[in-house]
Amino acid sequence: MKIELRISRFDPEKDRAPYYRTYTIDAEKHTTVLDALIHIKDCEDDTLTFRRSCRSGICGSCAVRVNHRACLACKTRAMDSIYEGCILVEPLKNLRIIRDLVVDLDPFFRTIEQVSPWITRDCTAAERRMYPADVRELNKTGDCIMCGACYSDCNVLDVDRKFLGPAGLVKCYRFVEDPRDNLASERIKQAIELGIFKCPVDQECELACPAHIGIRRDVIESLRHHGAKYGIAPMPAHRRLIQSVLDTGGVVPVKTEPAIERHQHRERSFNGITEVYFKDFDGEPENDIVLFLGCIINRRQQESADAIINILQHNRIAVHLPKRQTCCGSPFMRSGMYENMRPFVSQNIDIFNSYAEHGVRCILTSCSGCNSTFRHDYPGLAVDYGLAVNYRIFDTGEYMYHLLRSGKLNEDFREIRMSTMYHYPCHIRASGLEEGIYVDLIERIPGLVLKQVPSSGLCCGGGGGVRAAYPELADKLAIRRMNIAQEEGVDSLFTNCPFCILSFERGIKLREDAGEALHFKIYDFYRVFSEAYGGTGAGP
C-alpha cells in the first residue's frame, strides 16, 4: 500500500526555518516509521537526516514526533499512524533542531546530570542485598532508555525551562528507591527545588514514554509521598489546601451557597441516608443514580450541577444527591499526604456502598478529578482500609455515552450554532475514557461543529496542585493552551473538567485585566447539553 509521509525538514546551512516535504512510499503491515525514513534516505533523498541505531526500541536514538506525539520511530507502525491520509513526522519539541529530525539533546542530558545519578554509598556486600520486591520497585524506573520523548512532550517545559522534566525526575526516583543509596531526603529536597510540584500530572510524558514508565503515579506522586513522609513536602500552599479540606471537606472555600444546599425542600431520607432527590418526570425512572458533585462544582460551578441534573431528568434518570459526600481525597493523593485521607475516603465508600445495598449501584461524578481518584486510587485504598466496593463509577459524560450506545439517550436537542474545539481533560484520559466518546456525544447536538486536531495534549495548568503552588506557571499554561487553539483556528474551547474551566476563565480574565483581551470563550459541556435540552436549571 502507498503511504504518504509529511516530514519536517531543516538544513541550517540553507533554510531559515523548518518546512515540510511530502514523500510517498510503499508500506506493509509491519513497516515502521523508521523503516519508512530509511527507505526515503536510501532510495529517494540521502539528505534526509535522523538518528537511529538499534531498531528494537532499546537504544533510544530514533525518538521523533509522529502526528504530534513523541515516540520511537522504530516502534511505531506506519499503518497505525496515518492521520488524514498522511503521517506527520517532526523533530522532538523543547529542543533546538540541528538538522531535519535531529535535535540537540544536550539540555536533556544535563537534566539527568543534575540529579547526581549515581549510587552515593559504598556498601558492603551484606548491605547490597536487595530483594525481589526492591527490584520490582526499581524496575518501574530502571527501564528508562533516555530517549527524550518525555522531555519533548512535557507541557511545563514549554513554558518553564527551570523545570527538571520527567526523565530527570525518573532518574532521581530510581536512586531514592535504591536501598544501596543513602541520600533519599536530599534527593527529594532537590526534586522539590527542581519542580516536582510543577507537574500538573497531565501525563503527556507518560503517553510518549516508549518504556511505559508510570511517570505520574510511580515517580512524581511517589516522590511527593516520600517528601511528605520526610516532612519536607508538600509546599505551604498545598498545606493550606489540605487544611481547607480538613476544615470544610473541600479545597475551595464556601463563598456562595453550595449546589447541594439549594434544594432543601427536596431533602429526604433514603433508607437512612440523607439526600436530595430529583425525579421531576412522570412514571418510573429508567434508572436511579447517585451523583457525586465534587467541591468545585458544588461550591463554585453550581450552574453545572443544575445542568447535570437537568440532563439526567431529560433522560428519565432519578438523581440521588447524598448530603454527606465529602472530599474525594485527590488533594491528599496529589500532594503526597496519603496518611491523612482515610476518613474522607472511608466516608465516601461507605455512602456509595449504602446506596448499592439498596439497589442504586451507579455513581456518577461531575468532576473528572474525582472520577480519576475513584477509579485509580479507591480500589487500592479500599483494600488497605479493609472495605468492600459494591458500586460502579461513571463519569457523567461517559454515562451519557452508554445511553447513546444503547439507544436510550434522549436526542431531542435544540440547535446550537457554534464552532469550537473539544479540550480533552487529562483527568478524563486518566480514567481510561477516550476522547472519541465525548467528541461523538458533542457532535450529536445539531449545529455544533467541532474542529479537532490530533491529540495535541495541551495542558490547562489546573491539575496536580500547580495552581496553588505556582499560580503564574498555571496561568502561562492556560493562556498558552488558548493561544494555540486560536492558531488552530478556533476562538473557544468546549470541555468537561471543572479545573480546566477555572484555569481558562482565570487566564481570560488575566489577559483582560492586562488590557490584552483574548476574545476567547470557554464552554462547559454540561451547560451546553442542558441548554440543548431547552433548560438550564434543575427546577426549583
Partner: protein, 554 residues
C-alpha cells in the same frame, strides 16, 4: 588542536569501563559516534556469566568456555575472564546495576547455552541496558570527557607508534586531529555486514576496519557468530535467556527437532543450535517451507514471561505482531557477534604497535575462540575493559606524545564528500550484505567463498566511485554511512578470505567441504595482514594450559 593522554573510541560497555578506570589517573577522552547511552551494549539481553554459587565451580566456567570456543580460545585469557568475573560482578552491583534477585537477596542466575550451571546473572531481559546505564552514571560521576557523536576517520601512526586520531564532529561537520599518547578501540562488532543481523545500524566494524588499514593484522575474523533466535525477518534479538527459561524450538512438523542434534537440546552452544536450525530449514522443515522456525514460550506462562522476559514479549508483539504468551515466535539465525578482531594481550595492548589498545567485541584476546558462549561478552567487556583501562593509565604515565606525521589517511575518507562518482552507498551496502549472507554464512565452502571474495573486491572497486548527494557539513549522515561502508568492505574481505583459508570446521566456522575439526593443521589463530592490494596470512599458536582438545559433544 585537541590533546589528551588517551582517547578511547567507542562508548559501549568496554569503552566506558576502560575510560572510568583510566580516568582515575589520566586525562582520558571517550569518543563515540553515538551518544554512549545509545551504544549497542544496551541490546544485550540475557545475562552476564559469573560463578557466584558455592555449588558452581570456577573450573567449570573455564572448561565450558574453552569447550564452547571449540578449543581455539586461549586458556590463560579464559582463566582471567572467569576468575575475575566475581569481583567484576560485585563491582557492578556496587555501581548500582539493578540485577534481578533471589528471595534471599542474592543476585539471581539463570541457565544459558553451553554453561553447565545456571550462572547468568541478569536484569530481567535487559541486562546490557541495566549495566550500560549504570556505567554511564559512573562516567558522569568520574567526570570523564566525552565527545558524543564524533566519528573516527583514521589512526595517526608514526614510526610504528600510535600518536592520535582524526575524528569528525558529526554535529558541526568539522574534522579534528586529536593527539594522544595512546588510543584504544572499543568499537564493537560489524553485524551490519550481513543481511540478517541482531546488530544495530551503528555496528559497522569501524575500529577493525581502521586498524586494518593502518597495518594492524586482524585475528580469527572467519569466526562470525550467528544467534539462533533472531526475530524473523528483521533479525532482532530474542535472548537465549528465553530458552534458558524453558523456551523450545519447533519445526514445521511441530517437532522439537533439537533432540536429534544435541542432548543439551536448545541450550547447546549457539553454533550447534544454528547448524541444526539451518539444516532443518535447508531440508524443507522451516515453517511453511520458509527460512524460519518457531521459538515456543507459551508453556512458560504469561506471568513468568512478563517478569523475566518483558522485553521479548514487547519486541515480538511490536515487530511481529506475536503475543509470545499465546503463540510461538518466528525466529531465524541472525549474525550476532564477532569472535575475531584486533589481537590484544591480557592488558588490551596491541602487540607491535606502541600506544594502541583494544577491548570488547572489536578485540580478540582470545577468550571466545571459534564460538562465544552466551553471557561471556558482557563479562569480557567489563573484565578486559577494566584491565585495558588500567594498563592505559600506566602506559600514558610513562609515554610521551608522539610527533605527528605529515599525512594521516583521513583525507581519502573526507574526499567522499567531494567525489562525483555514480555508485550509491545503499546499493553497495545491500549487495554486500547479501553476498556475505549467501557466500560466508553458516555453511561455507571453497566455491562460495571464492565467489564471495571476488564479489567483495568488486564492491571495493566500485566504492572508489562512490557518490553522495548530501554536500552539507552539519550532521551529514550520508557521509558517515559512506565511511562506515568503507570499513564494512575492508573487514568483509578479511572475513571471507580468512574463512577461505581455514580448511576445517570449528565452532561457528563450518566448511561443508572440510566438515571435521583438524587440530593437526588448524589449532591456531589466523592473522590477516593487509598487504598492498590484498591480504597475507600468518598464524599464532593457541595457548593451552589445562584442557587438551577433545571431541566436542553436547
Amino acid at each position: 588542536m585537541l590533546v589528551h593522554d588517551a582517547v578511547i573510541i567507542g562508548g559501549g560497555l568496554a569503552g566506558m569501563r576502560a575510560a572510568i578506570e583510566a580516568g582515575k589517573e589520566a586525562d582520558v577522552a571517550l569518543l563515540s559516534k553515538v551518544h554512549p547511552l545509545r551504544a549497542h551494549s544496551n541490546a544485550a539481553q540475557g545475562g552476564i556469566a559469573c560463578v557466584l554459587e558455592k555449588d558452581d565451580l570456577l573450573e567449570s566456567h573455564i572448561y565450558d568456555t574453552v569447550k564452547g570456543s571449540d578449543f581455539l580460545g586461549d586458556q590463560d585469557a579464559i582463566e582471567i575472564l572467569c576468575s575475575e568475573a566475581p569481583e567484576n560482578i560485585q563491582e557492578l552491583d556496587r555501581m548500582g546495576v539493578i540485577f534481578s534477585r533471589m528471595d534471599d537477596g542474592s543476585i539471581a542466575q539463570r541457565e544459558f547455552g553451553g554453561h553447565s550451571f545456571p550462572r547468568a546473572c541478569y536484569a530481567a531481559d535487559r541486562t546490557g541496558h541495566a549495566i550500560l546505564h549504570a556505567m554511564y552514571e559512573q562516567l558522569l560521576k568520574n567526570r570523564i570527557t566525552v565527545y558524543p557523536e564524533w566519528y573516527v576517520l583514521s589512526l595517526i601512526m608514526n614510526d610504528g607508534a600510535c600518536c592520535g586520531i582524526t575524528a569528525h564532529d558529526i554535529g558541526k561537520g568539522e574534522t579534528h586531529i586529536i593527539r594522544a599518547k595512546a588510543v584504544m578501540f572499543a568499537t564493537g562488532g560489524y553485524g551490519t555486514a550481513y543481511e540478517t543481523t541482531t546488530n544495530a545500524f551503528a555496528n559497522t566494524g569501524d575500529g577493525c576496519g581502521i586498524a586494518s588499514r593502518a597495518g594492524v593484522p586482524l585475528m580469527d575474523m572467519e569466526f562470525v557468530q550467528f544467534h539462533p533466535t533472531g526475530l524473523y525477518p528483521r533479525g532482532l534479538l530474542i535472548t537465549e535467556g528465553a530458552r534458558g527459561e524453558g523456551g523450545i524450538l519447533i519445526n514445521d512438523k511441530g517437532e522439537r527437532f533439537m533432540k536429534r542434534y544435541a542432548n543439551a537440546m536448545e541450550l547447546a552452544p549457539r553454533d550447534v543450535v544454528v547448524r541444526a536450525m539451518q539444516k532443518e530449514m535447508d531440508e524443507g522443515r522451516g515453517i511453511g517451507g520458509a527460512n524460519y522456525l518457531y521459538l515456543d514460550l507459551t508453556h512458560i506462562g504469561r506471568e513468568k514471561i512478563m517478569e523475566r522476559l518483558p522485553q521479548i514479549h514487547e519486541i515480538a508483539l511490536n515487530f511481529a505482531g506475536v503475543d509470545c504468551a499465546e503463540e510461538p515466535i518466528p525466529v531465524t539465525p541472525s549474525v550476532h557477534y564477532s569472535m575475531g578482531g584486533i589481537p590484544v594481550n591480557h592488558s588490551g595492548e596491541v602487540e607491535g604497535i606502541k600506544g594502541l589498545f583494544a577491548a570488547g567485541e572489536c578485540s580478540c584476546v582470545s577468550v571466545h575462540g571459534a564460538n562465544r558462549l552466551g553471557c561471556n561478552s558482557l563479562l569480557e567487556a567489563v573484565v578486559f575493559g577494566r584491565r585495558a583501562g588500567r594498563e592505559l593509565s600506566r602506559y600514558v604515565r610513562k609515554a610521551k606524545l608522539g610527533s605527528l606525521p605529515e599525512t594521516d589517511g583521513s583525507k581519502e575518507i573526507e574526499n567522499i564528500l567531494d567525489s562525483d562518482g555514480n555508485e550509491k552507498v545503499p546499493d553497495l551496502r545491500e549487495t554486500l550484505r547479501k553476498v556475505m549472507m549467501e557466500k560466508c554464512g553458516i555453511f561455507r565452502d571453497r566455491k562460495g567463498l571464492q565467489e564471495g571474495l571476488k564479489a567483495v573486491k568488486e564492491l571495493q572497486k566500485r566504492f572508489e566511485n562512490i557518490y553522495i548527494s548530501d554536500k552539507g557539513r552539519v550532521f551529514n549522515t550520508a557521509f558517515i554511512e559512506a565511511a562506515e561502508l568503507h570499513n564494512l568492505l575492508t573487514i568483509s574481505e578479511i572475513i571471507v578470505h580468512s574463512a577461505l583459508v581455514r580448511e576445517e570446521s570449528r565452532g561457528s566456522h563450518t566448511r561443508t567441504d572440510y566438515p571435521e575439526r583438524d587440530d593437526a593443521r588448524w589449532l591456531k589463530h589466523t592473522l590477516a595482514h593487509r598487504t598492498g592490494d590484498g591480504l597475507s596470512f600468518s598464524y599464532r599458536p593457541v595457548t593451552i594450559t589445562r584442557f587438551h582438545p577433545e571431541k566436542r559433544k553436547y
